[in-house]
């Protein structure tokens, strides 16, 4: 089992603290939802874990100090799907997925058969085999999201960080991507996913981490984290709750005014 531990993690941007005193212990095999209002520091925290931003405090993966690792080794251990999902050139889906393999390659080394097999396998999982040779620019939003997720999965890292992977997707594709992330977690990885949909968070995440104003508000099972008190305090909303097939769902109902 892999354990990601954050101790007193803080991130400053332009001299301003964006994330402070973050202490978390996250275990592999789980989907952990990172939730909170806009500007809560979710993306900043995720970037710090991915090594995209420098941070204070300690980020450890088992016994390894992530911030002290070489860039390539860190990239092999932690895969990151950025919020900005762009391709500046019209690459094919397969070429984009193959961009998950550089952490496993030396500077001038060509991808091996094993790398190509890994990419084929991922494209199979994301149901993108049939579109593998199509340009990313010719695809629909849902297909593009699956293509970029394929790239993040192709790293085959024990930790996958995904920043809003289901934003702007229709409900069918949202369910499909969340199921995919869940199956990746069940294969032994830790999946940390930023999302705004509280119902899907409740349904697919084993744990939730709630942030507000750069600080941790709650961490645990959805039933504890999404309490009326937390939701009023952080989002200023009232929710409606229900059950379907024994699963609880939460729907934002009305905004509370002071």
């Amino acid at each position: 089992m892999t354990v990601l531990t954050l101790e007193n993690v803080g991130v400053n941007l332009g001299g301003k603290p964006i994330v402070q005193n973050m202490n978390l212990r996250l275990e592999s095999g789980q989907v952990v939802g990172l939730i909170g209002p806009n500007g809560a520091g979710k993306s900043t925290l995720m970037k710090a874990i991915a090594g995209v931003l420098t941070s204070e405090g300690s980020i450890r993966l088992d016994e390894k100090n992530v911030t002290a690792l070489g860039n390539k080794e860190r990239a092999r251990l932690i895969s990151y799907l950025a919020q900005e999902k762009v391709a500046h050139w019209p690459l094919s889906v397969r070429e984009i997925a193959m961009l998950g393999r550089p952490p496993h390659l030396a500077t001038f080394e060509s991808p091996s058969e094993a790398d190509m097999d890994a990419v084929d396998q991922v494209l199979e999982q994301t149901d993108m085999r049939a579109l593998a040779d199509r340009s990313i620019l010719e695809l629909s939003g849902g297909e593009q999201a699956r293509a970029f997720l394929s790239r993040a999965l192709a790293v085959q890292a024990p930790v996958l960080l995904a920043d809003e992977p289901i934003a702007a997707l229709d409900p069918a594709h949202q369910l499909e991507i969340m199921a995919l992330l869940q199956s990746y977690a069940r294969s032994g990885a830790l999946v940390l996913v930023i999302m705004h949909d509280l119902s899907l968070a409740t349904r697919y995440c084993d744990e939730l981490v709630l942030l507000d104003k750069g600080e941790l508000v709650a961490h645990g099972e959805a039933s504890t984290v999404l309490s009326d008190r937390h939701l009023q305090q952080v989002y200023g909303i009232e929710v409606a709750r229900g059950t379907k097939d024994d699963d609880v769902f939460v729907v934002p109902w009305r905004r509370l005014t002071d």
């Binding site: 690459l91 550089p102 952490p103």
Partner: protein, 341 residues
């Protein structure tokens, strides 16, 4: 990708074949029937023409084309702009201004020539040394203007500013030229040519072209990752700032050295990546080698073409590449218009 690799290997072999043929043609074709004379073992003049005039010219053509091709492909990848070309960052105009300074101030040229001689360089390299100093000055200025963490916009703006300044200084030098002949000499040099270059020029350019090319080539995979944005590239273990600096330094070094010796040969670096994309795709790293080889083929073939008229003054290579490059630009405009509609 699997079939793409086969395509890349096939293309590379094809281009190597074309390069070999172009190289032989470049050595064989020219004014004077050298080949016929060479069959006579005693003909020293033919041997001199072949080994001391045409061979360096062909070798320089290969190096110039390789450098312009790889630098063009790398800059288009880095700046995510299909209209980027090696001259964009100011190294070419900096080198041209440095070289013109040597033409204009003979005393400065003598100092550089003397300095070169003490470093073991042959006489007559003052223009090239001046050009290289100009390229290094342009690169330093680019670093100063673009800052420690350059982004695409500041790099392009800094390049535009340096090009404008170096162009203005070059025009000033021409404006103040002591005689029309001095001005004419500078103008002809700036048109870009491989004519009358020696093995000394080849040796001057080679180390910087190799070093610059290696710097660019080592950034290939990082350029691919940067296609998906800076954050993704960073998460994949690349440092976008360092990659940018590496590509810029490699381009300035290699292109600066080339321009110092040949003058400005435009359009090769712009056109070649566009010719290769339909075959190898848009992956920045996969474009580097084919663009370099195609650049070398194009430069050699263009340099052969300028020699074909057997009478009258030889057409300058830079003029010829511009003549074939400008219509290509028009084609790009029409293609972009068609795509956007």
């Amino acid at each position: 990708m699997r079939s793409g690799n086969g395509k890349l290997i096939g293309l590379t072999l094809g281009l190597l074949g074309l390069l070999a043929v172009s190289f032989v043609l470049s050595v064989v074709i020219g004014r004077g029937g050298v080949l016929a004379d060479l069959s006579n073992d005693a003909d020293d003049i033919a041997r001199i023409i072949l080994l001391e005039i045409r061979l360096p010219r062909a070798l320089l053509g290969v190096i110039v084309g390789l450098v312009l091709g790889i630098a063009g492909a790398a800059l288009q990848g880095l700046l995510r702009n299909p209209l980027a070309e090696p001259g964009l960052i100011g190294a070419s105009s900096g080198a041209a201004f440095g070289a013109v300074t040597v033409f204009y101030f003979p005393a400065f040229g003598a100092v550089l020539g003397g300095a070169g001689a003490t470093l073991g360089m042959a006489q007559g390299q003052a223009v090239a040394i001046g050009g290289m100093l100009g390229a290094v000055a342009a690169l330093s200025l680019l670093y100063l203007l673009a800052g420690r963490k350059p982004n695409i916009m500041t790099l392009i703006l800094a390049g535009v500013a340096i090009n404008a300044f170096a162009g203005a200084m070059t025009s000033l030098a021409l404006n103040m030229a002591p005689s029309p002949f001095a001005a004419l000499e500078v103008v002809f040099w700036m048109m870009g040519s491989l004519e009358n270059r020696s093995m000394e020029h080849v040796w001057f350019v080679l180390p910087m072209a190799v070093l610059g090319g290696a710097l660019i080539a080592s950034a290939g995979r990082a350029l691919d990752a940067m296609t998906l944005g800076q954050d993704t590239a960073r998460s994949l273990g690349f440092n976008p700032v360092r990659v940018t600096l590496r590509v810029i330094a490699g381009t300035a070094l290699a292109v600066g050295a080339v321009v110092s010796v040949t003058g400005v040969i435009g359009f090769v670096g712009l056109v070649v990546p566009h010719l290769m994309r339909p075959i190898v795709g848009h992956h920045p790293s996969r474009l580097l080698l084919p663009s370099a080889l195609a650049g070398a083929c194009l430069t050699l073939l263009a340099d052969i073409a300028v020699r074909i008229p057997m009478h009258g003054p030889e057409l300058k290579l830079g003029v010829f590449t511009a003549l074939i490059g400008a219509p290509f630009f028009l084609y790009l405009i029409l293609k972009t218009r068609r795509l956007s509609s």
